[in-house]
């Protein structure tokens, strides 16, 4: 089976900063592949290499069976790219933007309307409005429509949900899932861990290195320790007290609770006793199932120590 993307040993530096270091991964055809990582991890740099906008210093990038460095002309016809920053013409209307990108790719809106109809129908009532005057969620839908209008085989979405409200984010992922039917491979980056679950496979990326590539379920299962959630009214005191104890390996705040791992995977009884002795009597401790974020933090911790 042909791979949509095959990256081997990709490296890119900007001056002394290593943006990407030995990036190797592959994406299967028509899967939704997510890159999860904090700001500055190298996601945008990697996407710019995949979309032929940037040349790697080292390594080999094959996209849709073509070399991203030498076959860029052919490749550009088959990629739909949505940069992180809204980069359509703000002084053109919704309709004009869509028509413009269709014609630039030598096609028409009519020809591929079925592909975008689900997304475009949301903004069609505003088709005469200037793109710059749209709301964040509508801008995002327009950008996605423009990236899809030439029926690309690969859709590259760089942080499409950053700065978008929770409802629109969820809607957006529903739209991506629907695109699946059209046999389009989608790679998407996001700083939000909760979105990882909507991908077929995810790569955790940090400091220009890929920490792990797997399905969201396997990544969660890869968590190697017992995980406890600890709750208390005095959250700040709680986390300080927990981190003081040498038996506690990690203690990270997660919403209203704190996720804790222990060096020897000791039982929660030990923890409760310790907290009471430190004057926190209302602590509630439960064993929990690890999420992707827990696994990511664990991998990060290992990466720093290694």
């Amino acid at each position: 089976m042909i791979k949509a993307i095959e990256s081997s040993g990709i490296a890119k530096s900007f001056g002394p900063t290593k943006a990407l270091d030995d990036i190797t991964f592959s994406v299967n055809e028509s899967e939704i592949f997510g890159f999860i990582g904090p700001d500055g991890a190298g996601k945008t740099t990697l996407f710019r290499i995949i979309t032929t906008l940037l040349l790697p210093d080292k390594g080999n990038m094959k996209v849709l069976g073509m070399d991203a460095t030498s076959d860029y002309k052919e490749l550009r016809k088959n990629i739909g790219y949505m940069p992180g920053r809204f980069s359509l013409y703000q002084d053109l209307s919704v309709e004009e933007n869509l028509n413009f990108y269709a014609t630039v790719f030598g096609t028409t809106v009519k020809e591929n309307y079925d592909l975008i109809s689900d997304i475009y129908s949301h903004i069609e009532p505003f088709r005469k409005r200037l793109a710059g005057k749209l709301s964040g969620g509508m801008k995002q839908k327009l950008a996605l429509s423009c990236a899809l209008i030439h029926k690309p085989r690969l859709l590259v979405l760089d942080e499409p949900t950053t700065g978008v409200d929770a409802v629109s984010r969820s809607e957006f992922w529903d739209m991506l899932s629907k695109l699946h039917q059209h046999n389009i491979t989608i790679i998407v980056s996001t700083p939000y861990m909760d979105e990882a679950i909507r991908c077929d496979r995810v790569a955790l990326i940090q400091n220009g290195k890929i920490l792990s590539v797997d399905t969201p379920q396997n990544i969660r299962a890869g968590f190697s320790r017992k995980l406890f959630t600890v709750k208390s009214v005095e959250k700040y005191k709680l986390i300080k007290t927990l981190r003081k104890n040498p038996e506690v390996l990690t203690a990270y705040p997660f919403g209203d609770s704190i996720h804790v791992t222990l060096i020897n995977d000791a039982s929660d009884n030990f923890l409760l006793g310790y907290l009471v002795s430190e004057g926190i009597s209302d602590a509630v401790i439960q064993e929990a199932k690890a999420g992707i974020e827990d696994r990511f933090l664990e991998l990060m911790e290992k990466g720093i120590k290694a």
């Binding site: 906008l53 940069p83 002084d91 053109l92 413009f100 790719f105």
Partner: protein, 372 residues
Amino acid sequence: MRTIFYLIRKEFLQIFRNKFISKAVFAIPILQMLILVPAITFELKNVKLAIIDKDMTPESRGLINKLDGSTFFKIAFSTFSEDEANNLLLRNKCNMILEINPGFGKDIGNGKQGKLLATIDAVNASSAELTWAYFNGVIRDYNTDLIKENIITNPVVPFPRIEITNRYWYNELLNYKYYMLPGILVILVTAIGFLLAGLNMVREKEIGTIEQINVTPVRKYHFIIAKMAPFLLIGLTDLALGLVIGKIAFNIPFEGSILLMFLGSTIFLIAVLGVALFISTFSGTQQQYMFVAFFCMIIFILMSGIFTPYESMPIWAQDFNLINPVAYLMRINRMVMLKGSTIYDISRELCSLIIIAISFTTLAVRRYRKTA
């Protein structure tokens, strides 16, 4: 080809949607023509004189009347104090001091040489030289009058003389506006070509829209041509507008072929747009672009010979002008408009412009990178 057409259509859509630019593009040539053409002049009028007449004879008064009667001089002050006159010169109240020493009238009456002392403010060297030349002219007239009077009283002496009849060709009335107008038209077209297209290009970089274009199959030369074409058309429209104003407001003569002038301006605009887009490939922000483009534009315009004759520049400056498109169009416009030069007369200028246009456009296309 179709892609270029769509790209150009997009540019026009954006230009005319911008309410300010779409108006300014047509208002600026009108203002520029109406203000600059009558304002910029090297004609010297009303040189203010301070007179120190220490002689007070009919002869000295005759000379003063002669000066006052000429169109160039105006007697602004009469005084007997040299200090006061010097002070007036220092404070820019007058441009020249003429001192007539006692005995001037007597010497002339006795057939001796009369002596005058003229002091000219030479802060602006060229206007000082002109003042001096005009002043000499008046004195020469005065001399001739004296000689004529002597011939009448003493007709035995024969008096040989050479008479010169001159005619100013191409601009008979020495109307400065005729000289400046073709030059102002060049500045007009230069500004359109230099600023708008380059800024437009850098703006796409600044707001990131170029990123989206770069992942499309749009070719580099498509994109550059689409950036040039609208401003080429706007530049030519402005030129036509400028010419109409020249005809209506200043009744400027047009000796040559209008088509030839438009041909010259078309090639020129391509050259300037090439330079502008070339600069834009180096600039990341509109501020950077403005700074470099403004600097280049000033150099190109001031060295083009719009104010100072091209031929009197140092050799290195003349060599620089070989790559200065503005200098070529400056000559083309003046030759075609005022002299009625034909395509053969300006073929050297046209060929040079074509070479500049091709080189810079090629450079711009090659420097523009779709991949970093």
